[in-house]
Symmetry: C2
Subunit: 193 residues, 2 copies
């Protein structure tokens, strides 16, 4: 018998993504967001949902661009810091010692030390309530060569992304491989009468 | 020096969620989706993005409701099967042997064996290209009592959700705890001049 725990945001997993933008003065800023994901395949789109009060919200509206930077678990302290401090008050990247690199394709900086950087141009701005959803068209992905496999694709086990746990508000790493998608389910299919 | 890998969907982590709906005849259907996430806090909203060709797409449009069912890694085979087969052709839940339970609050069924079930009413239907984004207002969350901690909150380590890896198309489990959010980053903050 299930137990009702109410109308609240308890879903797993959610990501730990660092959103890169330029502010009004052209200074690079970063903030951490867990309300993000993939929302379309063609065009390839990701989004982040942000509160209007965040510095990044205004930055994206003005520049119509952002990057999603995927920290490896080695940078979990920095990622958390980017979710605590505000770019209105402190230059978070300088404080952290991490390096902003200007994207050549979109009007936003990416974080050099993080193994994956997704460069996005804003396609849609959708007001949902407390949060604005910024849907970004993925223009390019920059990867550290050390995370790429023989097919030229990043391996999640080399990227070591961080998972956020809503509710208890903790960070987790990636566990072990459970199998190949669009493949292991064929066993269940064979039960079919 | 980063390597450009092009305009493609390579972001980590993405979820492995099983979407529950009723079809035209009132038969329960499930499909697996990785394009999903949280998109607003007030009202609490999650979304799934689906191709128009899926059976679930029409089901959600008609009933304006869906559930997100979070399988534990024990059910990774069933979750993969729900992403391979189509409800247009086979009654996937009967084939899998899993149990649909009618939600009391929304017009959709949930999967009893999965530890977390999120019951959603459709708030927005947003066309993004190949995919339609269905934004659902979380009306309630049903949890298996065994995954709840002393605060009444589900623990990700007890739910054992499945992570999907776009690109290489593999499933992964959850790894170890990396720290408390909005807390461990304070160390980086103290570097501030």
């Amino acid at each position: 018998m299930k137990k009702s725990i109410g109308s609240r945001i308890i879903v797993f997993p959610t990501p730990t993504w660092v959103v890169g933008t330029y502010d009004r003065e052209g200074q690079p800023n970063v903030m951490t967001a867990a309300w993000g994901g993939v929302c379309c395949s063609r065009p390839p789109c990701v989004y982040v949902s942000l509160r209007k009060a965040t510095y990044t919200h205004g930055n994206i509206l003005r520049r119509r661009a952002f990057t999603i930077n995927i920290p490896s678990e080695h940078y979990v302290t920095e990622a958390d810091y980017f979710g605590i401090a505000s770019g209105k008050e402190v230059p978070k990247l300088s404080v952290s010692g991490l390096t902003p690199v200007p994207s050549r394709l979109v009007d936003a900086p990416y974080v050099d030390e993080f193994p994956l950087n997704v460069e996005c141009q804003v396609l849609h701005v959708i007001e949902l309530g407390s949060h604005t959803q910024f849907v970004g068209h993925i223009i390019d992905v920059q990867a550290d060569p050390s995370v790429l496999n023989e097919n030229g694709l990043p391996e999640i086990e080399r990227v070591n992304p961080i998972i956020y746990e809503p509710g208890n508000r903790r960070y987790y790493g990636i566990g072990s491989c459970l199998g190949q998608a669009f493949s292991i389910g064929k066993a269940a299919q064979s039960n079919q009468k």
